[in-house]
């Protein structure tokens, strides 16, 4: 097997609050192959976004990557000087955020922002910049792109703005795009359009994609492999179909069972009891233990990762996988 495009090992990103250390990401390991679409699923506070930001070194104090390694084609990114990270960001690794209104500069035209993104990595004439901008906008499905180059972000709809953000991410044909809940703020019909376009774009360009979302169905529509995060750790991973059809971790199984689609209309949903833990007061051992129907005294000790081929989970009492 060839070396993966991106290899993350024991990544730990902690936030140093006044009287607590919040372990937002606590020992995350995974790999990403070229052209692969990986889904990163979890609830708020699970560490999925911080994991994404850590890959690009976008962690500001009081947060810090305290341990672990992120290797892009064998090159270590953790601890890289800011200047070198900046040269990589947008060129090799790009990011799409949830809210395009806050990522686009409201006082610059679309053409100007795209030109800036190009100029960050290469010298480009104004005319060539416009031509490239029109080309990427067309590629992400913006009709009549050349005419809309001089529009400002507020003149675009939410879906169109997110397309612009995706166009900026694609500009330099990065190896990896990290997309953090990019369709959560959009209407379902626009979300479906963007999912379809993203899927086609990454397969056409050979870009690998990490899609971060709380929505299991959206991630499953896109990703070939899924990582499920809980309280800063990956608790389950594997091919999408296998994780969804035969979850091994009680948390994954609980999440799937709590979806309204899994119950008769009007019947009580099978809910996961309790609240997600606060990072400042994690229970000892398995973080899911207080909410887990299968927990016993063994769960007071943190479970290690069990790996079997492509599947992995972190649980003392995994569910019976059954046929994958």
């Amino acid at each position: 097997m060839s070396a993966p495009l991106l290899a993350v090992r024991d990544l730990a990103t902690h936030f140093f609050a006044r009287n607590a250390v919040l372990k937002a990401v606590d020992g995350v390991s995974f790999t990403l192959d070229a052209g692969e679409i990986l889904g990163l699923v979890g609830e708020s506070g699970s560490g999925k976004s911080v994991t994404g930001y850590s890959l690009l070194g976008l962690i500001d104090p009081p947060g810090r990557i305290v341990a672990g390694s992120v290797k892009l084609q064998g090159r270590e990114l953790v601890g890289l000087p800011t200047a070198e990270l900046r040269a990589l960001r947008g060129r090799r690794l790009a990011m799409v955020f949830q809210d395009p209104m806050t990522t686009l500069n409201p006082v610059l035209t679309i053409a100007a922002q795209i030109r800036l993104a190009i100029a960050a990595h290469e010298r480009v004439s104004a005319r060539a910049g416009r031509a490239r901008a029109a080309e990427v906008l067309t590629r992400v499905g913006i009709p009549d792109a050349a005419r809309r180059l001089d529009a400002y972000p507020h003149q675009f709809s939410g879906g169109m703005r997110q397309r612009v953000a995706i166009a900026v991410a694609l500009l330099n044909r990065p190896d990896v795009i990290i997309a953090d809940e990019p369709t959560t703020a959009l209407d379902v019909s626009i979300q479906a359009q963007i999912l379809t376009e993203m899927k086609a774009l990454v397969s056409e360009l050979g870009t690998a994609l990490i899609w971060i979302s709380h929505d299991l169905a959206v991630v499953s529509a896109l990703a070939s492999r899924i990582l499920v995060m809980y309280a800063g750790r990956i608790v389950e991973q594997g091919p999408t179909a296998s994780v969804l059809r035969a979850p091994r971790h009680p948390y994954t199984s609980g999440l799937l069972d709590s979806l309204p689609a899994r119950a008769e209309p009007g019947a009580m949903l099978r809910q996961i009891p309790g609240l997600p833990p606060t990072l400042a007061a994690l229970p000892p051992g398995c973080a899911f233990q207080p909410r887990c129907p299968r927990a016993d005294s063994l769960c007071g000790m943190a479970p290690q990762v069990t790996l079997t081929g492509v599947r992995g989970w972190r649980c003392h009492h995994p569910l019976d996988g059954g046929p994958p």
């Binding site: 209407d187 709380h214 959206v218 999440l255 949903l269 809910q271």
Partner: protein, 338 residues
């Protein structure tokens, strides 16, 4: 659902809401002097009629800008319609005149964002007691016990009364918002995206709470959401809205299993659904095009530009709601023989 005769419990009759554009000072002066000022109103809701039976849960579904929240607010009596009326048991929910006011406590509303709908500087107990004491549902002296009882009903510890909103998680805050609405002893709850801001595992808990309370208190509910799965789960009947109007309404099972309007079909198909079997884990089909601006709605059927079945008459004739099944109606020319 009850099909009893007599006046409907809630009647929404030909309700429209237009929002006039905010004019600048210059435009207002120009207008006063007789100049031509563009005053295109946003037609947020256009000529909507519907009825709810007592104890029924109606889901209102649509994309942003379709008017579902505006319609919900008019039913809740906190936004006066431009034209048309909303009545409960025959009595209007708002007074008339130049400054319409809500005139009943029988309808209460729950909003999407419990961070914004609770006063951050008011203790939970005070926030919950304010309405009931003002409306004499509870004596001031008994308010603490009254509040404690409602907190218990929504699954919170009565100690919560002493605390402030920031000390609670999103799901707990939404429970507090539900308790505050229920403490007014309403017959009707209008819930506007009540679980949209919650995590998946918490969403299920709050949905279960709605189901329990509905049964225990025989509530009538208008449940507004863009999340089709959630709406199906809690609703008896569902109305699909598009650009300010209802395009299809019917029993939840009919809407989801046998949708008639091309927009309803396309909307249902565009949501990724987890398949339980087969190689494909989740499937979806996008709808072509974007929502037209409510400032300049297209003539004819509002959906005709994106509709795969559109015919020439869809471009200039507005389709009317017509029955397509038992209790099931849709506004589409193509469903009706020309």
């Amino acid at each position: 659902m009850t099909g009893a005769a007599g006046p409907p419990f809630i009647a929404v009759t030909s309700v429209s809401k237009h929002f006039d554009p905010q004019l600048s000072l210059g435009e207002r002066i120009a207008g006063a002097l007789g100049g031509a000022v563009e005053t295109r109103a946003v037609r947020a809701v256009q000529d909507v009629s519907l009825q709810l039976a007592r104890g029924e849960v109606l889901g209102l579904v649509g994309e942003s800008g379709c008017g579902k929240s505006t319609l919900g607010r008019m039913i809740a009596g906190i936004l006066p319609p431009t034209t048309g009326s909303v009545t409960i048991d025959g009595a209007p929910v708002m007074s008339g005149g130049r400054h319409p006011r809500k005139r009943t406590t029988r309808v209460q509303m729950i909003f999407q964002d419990p961070y914004a709908s609770l006063d951050p500087r008011m203790r939970i107990g005070d926030a919950l007691a304010e309405g009931p004491v003002a409306h004499r549902l509870s004596a001031r002296a008994d308010a603490a016990a009254y509040v404690a009882a409602w907190l218990r009903k929504v699954g919170l510890d009565p100690d919560a009364a002493q605390r402030y909103p920031h000390q609670f998680s999103g799901g707990q805050r939404q429970r507090i918002a539900i308790a505050r609405a229920l403490a007014m002893r309403p017959d009707v709850l209008v819930c506007d995206e009540p679980v949209a801001s919650l995590d998946v595992s918490i969403q299920a808990q709050v949905l279960n709470l709605f189901l329990e309370l509905r049964r225990a208190l025989s509530l009538t509910m208008v449940f507004i959401s863009h999340h089709l799965g959630v709406v199906r789960h809690v609703s008896d009947r569902v109305a699909i809205m598009y650009l300010g109007g209802i395009v299809e309404i019917g029993p939840a099972a009919s809407i989801y299993d046998d949708p008639q309007h091309p927009y309803t079909r396309a909307l249902l198909a565009s949501v990724p659904q987890l398949a339980l079997q087969g190689d494909v884990v989740a499937t979806f089909t996008p709808i072509a095009g974007e929502l037209p601006s409510p400032l300049a709605p297209p003539p004819g059927c509002p959906f005709h530009q994106r509709c795969p079945l559109a015919e020439p008459r869809c471009r200039d004739q507005v389709p009317e709601m017509r029955p397509v099944g038992p209790q099931h109606a849709a506004a589409c020319h193509v469903l009706q023989p020309g």
